[in-house]
């Protein structure tokens, strides 16, 4: 991992499909070394933005830069060593075990003819330990609970050893305790390893609790960005979601807590 974390920026970015623009002329800097959550109503382009940041889709206009360089100019493998993406609903091959799935995260580091190296094995062990799945490493993934399975996918992204991890709705389909578990895990990775974490999330209050930086999108584009207390305001929620709400301090964490009216 490089010493100075790199900045992911959108510059004049327009995304969507011919005839339906989802994001229009967006300028945005995602702060390095922090935990960022992208929030907004359904259909506002949260996932589209995240996918563009991982070069899974090409911009209609503008560009995404990583450390100042246009993503499209970075070699596929080189990018995969710097930026990991956990998409929504990835597929687990039939019959694969936990350790074998996590090992797939080493792909960008392995040469065409190079075998499995000690470094690869260490990275997998570390990733499994980080998500507390080392004891289940030989289990078939199909036998795991939803929360465990999500931890395995996160471990795959960790084994990839990138400075930056992008996650598309990593808590969807999980019950509340598992959502909190995943968000705490991501926060801990950020604190311990300095990994830049950028997720698309739905739950405003959990996002406020577990993020350093929020990006709030609305139907008309970017509504607000910054620390949670500056972003989750009553007028901003009205603009982004058309939602009338009170914002109170969370009695436990003191972060903003959204109470719909």
């Amino acid at each position: 991992m490089s010493a100075a974390p790199e900045e992911l920026r959108a510059e004049g970015l327009s995304l969507g499909y011919p005839g339906r623009m989802v994001i229009r002329d967006l300028d945005l800097t995602l702060p390095p070394g922090r935990v960022t959550a992208i929030l907004g109503p359904n259909g506002c382009g949260k996932s589209t933005l995240l996918r563009a940041c991982a070069r899974l889709i090409a911009p209609l206009a503008g560009r995404v830069t990583l450390g100042g360089a246009d993503l499209r100019r970075i070699d596929s493998r080189a990018l995969a060593r710097r930026l990991g993406i956990l998409p929504q609903q990835p597929l687990a091959p039939e019959g694969i075990t936990v350790a074998d799935l996590v090992a797939r995260g080493r792909a960008p580091w392995r040469g065409l003819l190079a075998g499995w190296s000690a470094r690869d094995a260490e990275a997998v062990d570390r990733a499994l330990a980080a998500v507390a799945m080392a004891g289940l490493r030989d289990r078939p993934v199909a036998e795991l609970s939803g929360g465990q399975r999500q931890r395995v996918w996160i471990a795959l992204a960790l084994a990839q050893e990138t400075d930056m991890v992008l996650l598309d709705e990593p808590t969807t389909w999980l019950d509340l305790p598992h959502q909190i578990e995943v968000l705490r895990l991501l926060q801990r990775l950020n604190r311990e390893r300095g990994t830049t974490v950028i997720s698309v999330l739905h739950d405003l209050n959990l996002a406020a609790r577990h993020s350093d930086h929020l990006v709030l999108l609305g139907p008309e584009g970017l509504v607000a960005e910054g620390p949670p207390a500056a972003v989750l305001t009553e007028p901003a929620l009205q603009r982004a979601f058309g939602l009338a709400a009170r914002v109170l301090p969370d009695p436990v964490s003191a972060t903003p807590m959204v109470v719909p009216l």
Binding site: S76, A80, L86, P93, E94, G95, R104
Partner: protein, 325 residues
């Protein structure tokens, strides 16, 4: 892997020794080390069984490997060159070329089989809704079944039109190893060997693609290129198999399932297993065909269909609705 190699070794021995005229191991060894062309057993072994063995190794390895690649690419256990009509496309191109030029030699076969396989594969993926089978695995299998039936009926039509050369052309209706001696074995062995290297090179990309398109790209795979290479390899392998053995059904269906059970989920391990299991099954089918109805002979392609049909039904019943979409 050891089990697969043992199976292959057993099949090779059977292919050399068993037939309407059994040959003892000692005679076989003598024929290979000190051939005596006045001994009929040596002649049978050298001019019949050795070429058949070579054809079985080439076509079996090609179809087994093609099946593993296609299954990995589509996540569809029903996707194999026989069912998808790729073998039939190669066979039709060969037969049509033979009718148009009046030639039937190895050069023509080689020149026609590959474009035929490629054209059929492009057609089946266009009809079947793309690589991931946008409309589900059944649509791709159905598109293949229809295309296969259409192409094979055209082959039959052409074969029947040319009654005078019926025996030669009938080879293209159902695959068999019986005409191995007249087939371009050396050239096709080279094609398969090159395709094996290509397949091993593209295997890590296929491993990544098995996690989904987005994940694969996130892991640094150039997915469009990998898919293009993989499909070109399948067309080359199917073309080579048809050129030496005609259209052999269901082999590409049975082998990947067995290879996955034997070797686990990794692509390279599965490919290695398939390279042993494909020839083992095809040679066993050929040997069985030689002995079940003496003095006649049942074609290897019929034998693989007899075993493969039930395997197809079993695999099709295992697909849960939407599970592979």
């Amino acid at each position: 892997m050891r089990a697969a190699l043992a199976l292959l070794a057993a099949a090779v021995l059977l292919a050399l020794l068993v037939g309407p005229r059994p040959v003892g191991p000692g005679t076989a060894w003598a024929a290979l080390t000190a051939p005596d062309l006045t001994d009929p057993a040596h002649v049978v072994l050298l001019t019949q069984r050795l070429p058949r063995l070579a054809a079985g190794l080439i076509a079996g390895a090609a179809l087994g490997l093609a099946g593993v690649i296609l299954r990995g690419l589509t996540r569809n256990p029903l996707a194999e060159p026989g069912i998808l009509g790729v073998n039939a496309g190669a066979a039709l191109a060969v037969v049509a070329g033979a009718m148009a030029t009046g030639r039937g030699d190895g050069g023509l076969v080689v020149a026609m089989a590959f474009p035929g396989a490629l054209a059929a594969m492009v057609a089946v993926f266009l009809i079947g809704g793309g690589l991931r089978g946008g409309a589900g695995p059944m649509r791709l299998a159905l598109a293949g079944a229809v295309l296969n039936a259409l192409l094979m009926s055209l082959v039959t039509g052409i074969v029947l039109l040319r009654a005078e050369s019926l025996e030669v052309l009938r080879f293209w209706n159902t695959g068999s190893l019986s005409q191995a001696a007249g087939r371009p074995l050396g050239a096709m062995a080279a094609v398969v060997a090159a395709a094996v290297l290509g397949a091993l090179a593209v295997a890590p990309a296929l491993d990544n693609l098995a996690l989904g398109e987005a994940m694969a790209r996130g892991l640094g795979t150039r997915t469009a290129r990998a898919k293009g290479v993989a499909l070109a390899l399948v067309a080359a392998l199917a073309g080579a198999a048809v050129a030496v053995a005609g259209p052999i059904a269901f082999l590409g269906l049975m082998v990947p399932e067995l290879a996955r059970r034997l070797a686990g989920g990794g692509m390279r391990a599965q490919m290695g297993a398939a390279l042993c299991l494909g020839p083992a099954i095809l040679l066993a089918a050929d040997v069985a065909g030689r002995v079940v109805l003496p003095p006649g002979e049942v074609k290897a392609g019929v034998m693989t269909a007899l075993i493969g049909g039930p395997v197809f039904i079993w695999l099709a019943r295992r697909i849960r609705p939407g599970a592979l979409a």
